[in-house]
């Protein structure tokens, strides 16, 4: 669908004007709004699940879980916002020994945020997903560029948010749903056009490297560069260490296959790579992998584009001369169904052919057999930034391979000790983001309440009269938020003075 430039400009201007309103809301008011969005989504009937199932081919149980997760995200972020964690209030009162002036700082939204929904999470990382919740929590209006893979799902979610905007009496520009891919008459993509729009002050994106990098470049070429947080996926290496492998090669291989093929491998935390050193135990692991993968039921991928791309990339990697063996699901697949495959190569090959380190989005894994731990260290050093790195290890392995473990810390946002990386919990301690190219800025996360931080900026008020300060910075702390007052974290009312 095409949209005219003037329609897009109107959305952007409306968001800019809504920002003037949002700036004046308190953390509590935004938290109430966010809880109302959670209620609204929770109350959505089967039409939501049906539309998503029809548009993404994701099974209903998975979608039911994702809906609950989405509701949970709005509630968890709302709680964190209400506590004042992301306004980061700091008060330094004037006193003889230290500050000369009364200075108080808190964070406001950056301005309108452009959100790109992800195709693989139609609820949790799309129209009403984590980026939208983070931006609203930060005090930013949101312009959602609807994902073309699930337009009806996106419209239902957009309507849920719009209903809360209306019921709250908030200006309509707080949330806009941009349902169209191209700017009429220009051939330009709506997403690119809006990323370059002066009213837009930040971008949240989940998707491919190509997509995220293109937005980052557009944002950097603006007269006023703006922050882009793009989560661009990764291959999520799994390092298997000798003692752990010795204790259960077959069980580990089965656990790996289950994670690799979960949801037809369509997760950004899909473990697309295993690295180990040649041994009898690794042979058993490989054997179980080769036979186990044959039994994996092919399933329909998110859309034609994802499926075609999966087949193309899978074939490209498999056809590299360094791939000496591969195994795949033996169960016949019909059109659009991804068949899981694992391929094997050596560390020496991996180190010389960069194609072998590229992500294949879908149920595809590469096993890298190293001849020595030095080779494993070289593979670790060559790895690009990752969302996750998993260590399959025992305590003895951790002691023996300390240096390798220290080095992989530099490569990822989340480090798992055993287990598998699929499953990204929405908790404070979650880090979903990592060194480039896993994300565009390793300093932030797109999952967990801390995701709000991406969209705020601090503003300091110097000698500002109490009456004109935002609620968050007034002496009495009526909102009961956490603040740092003269260096001490406190929730105290300081209207009768501060102990220094």
């Amino acid at each position: 669908m095409m949209l005219s430039q003037s329609v897009l400009d109107a959305y952007a201007v409306s968001a800019g004007s809504a920002f003037q309103f949002l700036k004046t809301t308190t953390v509590k008011e935004r938290a109430v709004f966010m809880q109302a969005v959670a209620d609204q989504i929770e109350a959505l009937g089967p039409e939501l699940l049906d539309a998503a199932h029809r548009e993404t081919a994701l099974p209903l149980p998975r979608l039911t879980g994702e809906k609950a997760r989405t509701v949970g995200q709005w509630r968890a972020y709302a709680d964190a916002v209400a506590k004042g964690l992301y306004v980061e209030a700091r008060i330094d009162t004037a006193h003889k020994e230290k500050a000369k002036n009364d200075i108080r700082k808190y964070s406001i939204g950056l301005g309108p945020v452009l959100v790109f929904g992800a195709g693989n999470f139609p609820f949790a990382f799309s129209t009403a997903g984590g980026d939208t919740a983070s931006a609203i929590g930060a005090g930013c209006p949101v312009l959602v560029k609807a994902h073309p893979g699930h337009p009806e799902t996106s419209r239902i979610m957009a309507a849920a948010i719009t209903a809360v905007v209306e019921a709250s009496g908030w200006p309509p520009g707080v949330f806009s749903h941009i349902d169209g891919d191209e700017v009429a008459g220009t051939g330009e993509r709506t997403g690119a056009y809006l990323t370059a729009h002066p009213q837009v002050k930040a971008v949240g994106f989940t998707g491919s490297y190509q997509g995220g990098k293109a937005l980052l470049d557009i944002a950097g070429r603006r007269e006023e560069p703006i922050p882009v947080f793009a989560e661009m996926g990764s291959i999520n290496p799994v390092f298997v260490f000798p003692q752990a492998l010795e204790q259960g090669a077959e069980a580990l291989a089965k656990e790996y296959i289950a994670s690799l093929t979960l949801g037809t491998g369509q997760f950004c935390t899909n473990p697309g790579m295993v690295i180990g050193v040649k041994s009898a135990a690794l042979d058993r692991f490989k054997q179980t992998l080769r036979t186990g993968i044959r039994d994996i039921l092919p399933s329909v991928m998110l859309n034609e584009h994802i499926y075609t791309n999966f087949e193309k990339r899978k074939t490209l990697l498999s056809e590299q001369p360094e791939i000496h063996i591969w195994a795949e699901s033996a169960i016949p697949a019909t059109g659009g169904q991804g068949r899981a495959r694992v391929v094997e190569t050596t560390a020496a090959s991996f180190l010389t052919n960069p194609i072998l380190g590229e992500e294949v989005f879908g149920p595809f894994g590469i096993l890298i057999e190293a001849g020595s731990w030095d080779e494993v260290a070289a593979v670790a050093a060559q790895l690009k930034g990752q969302l996750t790195v998993t260590l399959v290890a025992t305590a003895a392995d951790m002691d023996a391979y300390k240096m390798i473990i220290e080095r992989v810390k530099d490569k990822a946002g989340r480090l798992l000790f055993n287990g598998m990386p699929t499953g990204v919990e929405v908790v404070y301690a979650m880090q979903h983001g990592g060194p480039f190219p896993a994300s565009t800025d390793a300093r932030f996360t797109s999952v967990g309440p801390d995701a709000v931080k991406r969209f705020v900026r601090p503003v300091a008020f110097q000698n500002w009269p109490e009456a004109y300060l935002p609620e968050e910075l007034k002496d009495e702390n009526g909102l009961q938020i956490l603040r740092i007052v003269n260096g001490q974290l406190t929730m105290e009312d300081i209207s009768s003075g501060v102990c220094i």
Copy 2:
């Protein structure tokens, strides 16, 4: 001075290897190191002040104050680092109702940080300045590109830090002093070369727009883009409102001149612009400005380059056809001494000639007389991002011009109610940074302990064995830092369990 590529590469590699060490230090160990640097600088004798005075022409009392400020910065940042404020520890223990896994997150350094010293603060924002202290506090090795305006000062400061590195038994790559502007045989600048170096993971810069923007562009073109925090100055507009002006136009004009000419106007928070509406009181303000500026003693600027640039920019702005009057210091100046000047124009002119809104680094101010408050609002809307905006106002003015005040909030990092913006206190509540082009990323500050945040990234550990967790995340909280445990901020030892 020229440096060879191999020397620069060696510095970068040494920093990269020191990062592996720094990553393993605790917040307490880094805080101890930082306090030792503070001690070392404090103990420096007159040779430091003499060198700086000779190289920058800054008066000794000012340098004495700046030295104390620099020591204070190291101590304040060390305190904040020791409290764990910037590791932002979050622990979510596995429990039936909420998290499925035990996930713990804290922040580590980004890696080696390249710091560019500023010419106007040879101590506080240069070799041993705020960026270096922030980076070390974050756990990042530092490569300082010495400012060519004060090489000897820079060497003395570098030696002080190096002495602490040695005394602590830390690897030498923790701190490197790059004293040379050009890469031998290439014509390339050392700063540009190192910004593009794969070992460098972030940049801290204080200086001109041209300099900061060039680094931002280099960093964005890297295969792995890295964050650049550049503080690039601004014109720091002062809005004068009617009732405040009525109550003391003459006193305000004098206060303004004092701030404008302090330190020969060589502050990034220098108030280079005043905006008011035509009135008898504004006429009195202007009259005092014109006569007051005549008595300002010219003083030697930081260096020949700064002086020449000041004269050139001052003349360019004064010669714009829209400048109908200007006044300057009537006291004869000798070579290298900047003579303070103020020029006057109308809001209509300001809105049409963008040159009038450009920064002139030095004692130069532009007064903009608006015909109406609508014109003031238009000027406010057209302003680029600023470090500060000052409102000279009474409570009645704040009520009457609420809309304008709301709009200027979007333009600055620090908002002053009366007073003048020069003087940037090193406190938690300080915000020094603002929307582009005041800085490259409005989400961060380069003054106050929060400056550390620029150089850290979170890493999450999932189901990690207690013994292998960093001290900051171990159950017992032996470092006694603030942590969010299952959503609650606490300093508790959780080794005997957590209440949910």
